[in-house]
């Protein structure tokens, strides 16, 4: 059992899967000699060579499109998109092609690829190096979307994603890369896709979150404990397919829920969770389903004063929970 950072869990898991499966390849911008701009693939080029760790041209549609073809012909590509913000040029290949290959061919073809991308704000990345893009992809049938919040889950979910036979988008919050550490067993464990987790038990309010927001939700829960407000925190972990049962069980128990996401509020991923609560847990709700989110501006602004204004933080979550608890 080793303690490691979030990114170290990802790097070593990529390494392990490359050793385990000779058909796995990694491709993307700067993933080779440089080891990725965040060093998530550091050392893999040296171990596996340029045939299995490919530095591609600066063309995201090609990175995903070629991965689809390579998957169809027997490889298991794990492309990296340098920043989630730059996945947009590949949107057509992901949404029109990867997501639909199996359904449109009536199961004749599949598309086992895992697209990794760092996402999220709070790192002085401004509009184009801070985005949360999960809402776009979790809406698309045929895709799976994963966002781990701990090194343990980062490894377990990455293994499940790479071994999965369908296209998975695996988003890594770049602010957690080196700030979050945790226990990571060296066993061959996996965390199955499609399972959420209660990461803190509580009785009064359920806070539902994913990625960095789980860490913040836990901090908020700590802040509220002295005031005797008991908070349950649920980590979504897999955004699609969603483990609705675990979320619903929590809310049916507490009767109150706060959905937290860093992305822009309107039409963000948490809207679906709130909608499910309103439809599935209505009889159990003792208060409105509250959302704590980023504001509806086109991106995280750069200047620290503006970025601070944009970002959700533990205090804002705590304040919302406090209000709802008193409702």
């Amino acid at each position: 059992m080793a303690v490691m950072t979030y990114i170290e869990a990802i790097r070593t898991t990529l390494q392990g899967e490359m050793r385990r499966d000779p058909t796995m390849i990694i491709l993307g911008e700067d993933v080779g000699k440089k080891g990725g701009v965040f060093l998530a693939t550091d050392g893999l080029y040296d171990e596996f060579g340029g045939d299995r760790v490919l530095d591609t041209p600066l063309t995201e549609s090609m990175i995903v499109g070629a991965s689809i073809g390579a998957a169809v012909n027997g490889l298991r590509p794990v492309p990296e998109i340098q920043f989630a913000d730059f996945i947009m040029p590949a949107f057509n290949q992901i949404v029109s092609e990867a997501a639909r290959m199996r359904y449109r061919s009536n199961n004749a073809f599949g598309c086992p690829i895992t697209i990794r991308a760092p996402y999220g704000g709070g790192v002085h990345g401004a509009l184009y190096h801070s985005q949360s893009v999960e809402a776009f992809f979790s809406h698309v049938p045929g895709l799976k979307v994963v966002i781990p919040s701990t090194p343990y889950d980062a490894r377990g979910l990455l293994r499940s994603s790479i071994r999965d036979d369908d296209p998975v988008l695996y988003f890594e919050h770049k602010k957690m890369y080196r700030s979050v550490r945790g226990d990571v067993p060296d066993t061959d464990y996996t965390v199955p896709l499609g399972s959420a987790k209660v990461v803190r038990e509580g009785s009064q309010v359920s806070v539902i979150a994913y990625g960095l927001m789980v860490q913040y939700a836990l901090e908020a829960a700590e802040l509220l404990e002295p005031d005797g407000i008991s908070v349950e925190v649920v980590d979504v972990r897999t955004l699609r397919p969603l483990d609705g049962a675990t979320l619903l069980d929590s809310v049916r128990k507490t009767g109150k829920s706060v959905v937290v996401y860093e992305d822009n509020r309107f039409g963000g991923y948490g809207a679906e969770i709130a909608a499910i609560m309103a439809e599935e847990a209505f009889d159990f709700l003792d208060g409105p389903v509250i959302r704590v989110t980023g504001p509806d501006v086109p991106g995280v602004p750069y200047n620290h004063s503006l970025e601070e204004w944009f970002m959700v933080n533990p205090d804002r979550i705590a304040a919302a929970v406090r209000r709802l608890a008193a409702y």
């Binding site: 058909t23 390849i25 045939d51 299995r52 591609t56 041209p57 063309t59 549609s61 090609m62 995903v64 499109g65 070629a66 991965s67 689809i68 073809g69 390579a70 998957a71 169809v72 012909n73 027997g74 490889l75 590509p77 040029p89 057509n92 290949q93 029109s96 092609e97 639909r100 290959m101 199996r102 359904y103 449109r104 061919s105 009536n106 199961n107 004749a108 073809f109 599949g110 049938p141 045929g142 799976k144 999965d164 036979d165 369908d166 499609g194 699609r240 397919p241 969603l242 609705g244 049962a245 619903l248 049916r252 439809e279 599935e280 847990a281 209505f282 009889d283 159990f284």
Partner: protein, 377 residues
């Protein structure tokens, strides 16, 4: 999965014994049987296509997208591929390419009727969206040119896995202006991948003439921007297409890298059964292109060379007639897909996960007496 079907079809292209039994085929390594088979394929593709229009007018299939005028280039280019080894990544006009590569007329017709056993999509996609897994024919989608990157990825896998396969992909000249084509050729050039990019240039993207699609006369010149050969093929010259395609196939097979083939063809019909091309093409232009029909041209060539005679032509005609009849009647007789299957195959594991199952908590199914909420169910 794809349904194999037995049917009274002669073909299944002969083992390529380069018996020099004709002048014409000599330096091409094509036997008399090969030449007759190539003719049969061109004529069969045309016959299947003409039947689609008849079925469309009869109201039996709502949509036709046609390859008439493209068949000569398609058969010439594809005839030298290795079935069962190589990959074909086609587009919606590829019927002649597909039957040359082993897709059967029954399978072609199943796609028109969108029947449940249709190997292309089980009736899920529009006609023209072909694909047969067990013959390495990748599923066609509608957004143009995306497949050019898939073929490139297939070739990358072939190279890394050392399978000896080559991938060939097809698209139209209008679609060749899409960014994906640039990105694909760039990547294929860097890694010298065993892939062949075929552009079937019929001069129109629906109504938009080539003069408004691009400033260059020939797309083939773009190959130089990716350090690969760019070759122009005369689409009415079946054997000329075969000759030049063979060079590209051998180059790819021997590690020589990708090739861009531009086949100049004519679109002898409207863009599709939804299009009225007289609105944007002049009468004389439409008349002129009659002379660009590969079928009579090939027929004359084979007759002049003494390869084709009345007896052989009659035999082929009869064979094609029965094949088209059989394919049409058999396909039409197959059942529609069962709506109960419509939710299958969203993901590999089935049934798909709870939240992806439309029957789950399905407000839209409340009228069917389903549960009001998952909680109470």
């Amino acid at each position: 999965m794809a349904t194999r079907t037995t049917e009274p079809e002669k073909s299944k292209a002969k083992s390529r014994k380069s018996a020099v039994d004709t002048e014409l085929g000599a330096d091409l390594g094509l036997s008399r049987d090969d030449l007759l088979e190539m003719y049969r394929l061109v004529a069969l593709a045309r016959a299947l296509d003409e039947r689609m229009w008849i079925l469309n007018r009869a109201g039996k299939i709502p949509f036709v997208i046609s390859g008439q005028g493209h068949e000569g280039a398609q058969v010439g280019i594809a005839y030298g591929l290795k079935k069962g080894l190589d990959w074909m990544v086609p587009y919606y006009r590829s019927v002649a390419s597909l039957i040359t590569f082993g897709m059967t007329p029954r399978e072609i017709m199943l796609a028109q009727f969108a029947r449940g056993v249709d190997p292309s999509s089980g009736g899920r996609q529009m006609p023209g969206h072909y694909g047969v897994a067990d013959r390495n024919i990748l599923s066609v989608s509608s957004p143009v040119a995306t497949q050019v990157l898939h073929a490139t990825g297939i070739a990358l896998a072939a190279k890394l896995r050392k399978t000896g396969q080559i991938a060939i992909t097809y698209t139209g000249e209008g679609s060749s202006n899409q960014g994906d084509v640039h990105e694909a050729m760039n990547f294929a050039g860097i890694h010298q991948l065993p892939v062949i990019f075929v552009i079937e240039n019929n001069g129109y993207a629906i109504s938009v003439p080539w003069s408004l699609e691009s400033a260059v006369e020939d797309i083939a010149v773009r190959a130089a921007g990716y350090a690969m050969p760019g070759v122009i093929l005369d689409g009415v010259d079946v054997l000329g297409c075969y000759r030049l395609a063979q060079q590209a196939i051998e180059r790819a097979r021997s590690g020589g890298g990708p090739t861009l083939l531009e086949a100049k063809v004519s679109r002898m019909t409207g863009h599709s059964s939804d299009d009225q091309q007289t609105k944007y093409r002049s009468a004389e232009e439409l008349k002129e292109q009659g002379s660009r029909d590969p079928l009579p041209r090939f027929n004359r060539e084979l007759r002049d060379a003494g390869v084709l005679d009345d007896e052989a032509e009659e035999r082929i005609k009869a064979d094609i007639k029965s094949v088209v009849e059989d394919a049409t009647d058999w396909a039409e007789a197959q059942p529609d897909p069962d709506p109960a299957t419509a939710q299958q195959h969203v993901y590999a594991e089935s049934p798909p996960s709870r939240m992806d199952d439309p029957l789950w908590g399905g407000a839209r199914f409340m009228g069917d007496g389903g549960p009001l909420t998952g909680g109470e169910a």
